[in-house]
C-alpha cells in the first residue's frame, strides 16, 4: 500500500499534464494572443477585476481602493491626453510595474508574451478600444527634464500654491486640503488625495518623470485634472520636482510666506 502511495504524485503529474495540454499557449497571432490573454487574465487578474472586467471580482469587496473597471475604458495612469484611452504601452507598464503599496502587484515576473496577451485581452473588455473615433491617441511627450535644483523646486512650490494644488493635497502636501474630504471618483466613491510627503504612500508618481506625466495627463475618473494647457512645460517640470522633493522629506512650507507667494 505504501509503495502505491509513492506513485500518487506521479499520477497527479500525468493528470496535470493532460489537463495542461488542453490549454492554449501563445503563438504570436492576435486571436491566439487574446485567447491566451483571457486564460492568464482568468488566473491572475479575475479575482480582483472580475471575469468580465467590471472591477468587482471576489476580492474587490474587501479592498478599500476598488480595482479598475475595464469596461468603461477609464484609466488613470496613462501617457495620453486627458479623457483619452491609454496606449498599449501604458497598460503594459502598469502590469509590469504594478501600483506601489496598493493591491495591484507588479507582474514583472510574468513572461513578456503573457503580459502582452493580457493587454490584448483587456482591450476587448471595453468597446471604446475598437471605436475608431477614439483614435489617434494624443500622447504626451516627456520633454527634456528641468534639472532637479533648489531653484526649480522653489518655482514648483509657487506654482503648486498658485494652481490650488493645496486645495486637495494640502498646503504641506499631506493630502489634507480643505477639499479633500469631499472628493469622489467618477463612480461616486470617496477618494483620498495622495499624501505627497510620504514616499511609501505615493503609488505611481515615484519619479519626477512620472509626476510630470500625471500633471500633463491628469488622472481620468478622478478630480485630478490635466495641467497640460494650464502650465507651461517648464512649470510642470518645476512642480514635478517640488512634489518629488516633498515625498523625499524636503519640507518647504513656510506659513508666513503663503500670502506673499499667492500674490506673485
Amino acid at each position: 500500500m505504501k509503495d502505491l502511495r509513492l506513485f500518487i504524485p506521479v499520477v497527479a503529474a500525468i493528470l496535470s499534464f493532460g489537463i495542461y495540454s488542453c490549454s492554449t499557449s501563445y503563438n504570436g497571432s492576435d486571436a491566439v494572443s487574446v485567447e491566451r490573454g483571457k486564460a492568464v487574465y482568468h488566473e491572475a487578474c479575475a479575482p480582483c477585476h472580475g471575469d468580465n472586467g467590471d472591477g468587482q471580482g471576489p476580492v474587490s469587496v474587501s479592498l478599500r481602493t476598488k480595482p479598475r473597471d475595464f469596461r468603461n475604458g477609464t484609466f488613470r495612469f496613462r501617457s495620453t491626453a486627458s479623457g483619452q484611452l491609454p496606449t498599449d504601452y501604458d497598460l503594459l507598464r502598469l502590469i509590469n510595474s504594478g501600483i506601489y503599496h496598493s493591491a495591484m502587484p507588479s507582474f514583472a515576473q510574468m513572461s513578456v508574451a503573457d503580459q502582452y496577451s493580457v493587454v490584448e485581452y483587456i482591450k476587448t473588455l471595453s468597446p471604446l478600444f475598437s471605436d475608431s473615433s477614439q483614435y489617434p491617441l494624443d500622447t504626451v511627450n516627456i520633454t527634456m527634464p528641468v534639472p532637479y535644483t533648489y531653484n526649480s523646486i522653489e518655482r514648483g512650490r509657487v506654482d503648486y500654491l498658485q494652481m490650488g494644488c493645496w486645495n486637495c493635497h494640502g498646503i504641506t502636501g499631506e493630502g489634507n486640503g480643505p477639499a479633500a474630504p469631499t472628493l469622489t471618483d467618477a463612480d461616486g466613491r470617496p477618494i483620498r488625495p495622495t499624501n505627497l510627503t510620504r514616499s511609501w504612500d505615493v503609488k505611481v508618481g515615484r519619479t519626477p518623470e512620472r509626476i510630470y506625466l500625471i500633471l500633463s495627463t491628469g488622472l481620468n475618473g478622478t478630480p485630478m485634472p490635466s495641467y497640460q494647457q494650464i502650465l507651461t512645460d517648464k512649470q510642470r517640470w518645476d512642480v514635478a520636482n517640488y512634489v518629488y522633493a516633498l515625498s523625499h522629506n524636503s519640507r518647504f512650507y513656510d506659513g508666513a510666506q503663503l500670502n506673499s507667494v499667492m500674490k506673485q
Binding site: 480582483c48 493591491a103 503573457d114
Partner: protein, 407 residues
Amino acid sequence: MFHRHTLPLLLSQTILFTTLSFFAGTSYGIPLFARKYHVSCFRCHTVPPVLNDFGRRFQINSYQLPGTDEAQPIWSQEPLSLSFVFYPSFVSDHVVTTFDGKQTSSNTLAFEPSGLDLFTAGTVAKHLSYFLAAPIGITGPGKFAPTIETMSIMFNNLLGPDGQSNFNFRFGRFRFFNTFPDNTSLVESADYLIYDYEPATPVQGDLLISDPQWAASAYGFFPQIMDGLRYEVGVSNGTAGGINLNDNEATFLMVEQTKYIDNAPFRFGLYFYGGKQMLVDSTFNNLSRAGFALEFNDPWTKHFDLSFQYMSAFDDNVGGAIQTMTGGFLGLNVLIVPEKFFVYGRYDFTNVKQTAEKQNQFTLGARYHFAANVGAYLELSLLNDNNPSNSTDTKSTLTTLGVLVGF
C-alpha cells in the same frame, strides 16, 4: 456563565486595548510577501491571516504571483524577504471542572507568552523556491528557543510554460493545503477541535492532519476548471520526522473546487488523511480522517463569509479498541469595514462515539486594524467538554485581548 470578575476584567482590558491601540497605531511595517511585492497585506488576505481568492492562488503557485514563474533569486532582490510577527496577548481563563459530582474551579489572569515568528521565503532559481517559518518561543522563565515550524523546498510550475501552476512538488516540513488550514483561522485563541483530535499516544511524532509535518507532496491549481480547482496529494512521516515510514506514515489527499456565484466564491473541498502510527506499547494504530469542507460567501452583500467543515475519524487501536469521532465546525466572518474592522464567530463540535465524550466550543471575536500590519482583537471563547466515561465535565471561559504586529 460569567465569573463575577469578568466585567471588571473586560473593563480593564478595554482600557488596555485602547492604550495598546494608541501605540500600535504609530507603528508601520510590511510583512514578508507584502514587502517583497510592494503591495498591501490585503492583496492576499481578507483579513490576515484569512486568505482571499487571490491569496489562495498565490499560495498554490508556491508563494509566487498567479500566472508567473519567478526566476530572480532572493539574494538579488530588494528588499530581502524576511519578516517578523509579534503577537502578545492578555488572557483571562475561568475553568470549572466537575468530577464525580464534585466541582472545582480556577481562575487565570496572565500575559500570554507569545514569542516572535520569523518568516522568510523566496525564489532560489526558476522552478525552485523555499518557505521557512521559525518561531522563537518561550520555553520557561526567561528562556527562549527557536524552532522550525515549516521548512520546505518547492519545485514549482514543473510541467507548463511560465505561470502554469498546475503541477508543483515540495518536500520538507509543511502544512498540507487544506480548505481551512489551522494557521489561517481568524480565531486566535481557540484551536479547531477536530484538528487536535489524537486519541492514541504515539511513540514519537504525531499524525495530525493540520500540523506541520515532514512530508512530500504534489499540488497544483487549474484555473480553467470553473473558477479554479486546487489539489494536493502527499506522503507524510508525521510531525517529528526521522521515523521509519513502516512505523509512522500517512497519506494526504485533497481536492477543492471553487465557483464564483455573482463574484462571490463558493468552495467545496474533499480530503482524506490516513495511515498508521506506532504507539508507546509498540502496537500499531491505523487511523483515518476524512471529510468535506464548504465555504459560502454571500453573493448579495458579499460581507458574510460562512464556512463549514465536517470530519469523520477512525482509529483501530485506542487502548486496544476501535474509536470513532465525528466533528466539525461552523464559522462566520463578517466584514464590517474593508481593511479595518471585522467580527467573527465559530462553533466547533466533536463527538466520540465509544466514550460518549462531547466537546462544544463557541468563540466570538472582533478585530480592528490600525494599519494593514497592525491589528488588535478581543475574543471570548466558551468550551464545554463532557466525558461520561470518566465522569468529568469541564467548562472554560477564555477571554483574550491580543495585538498582532508584523513587519
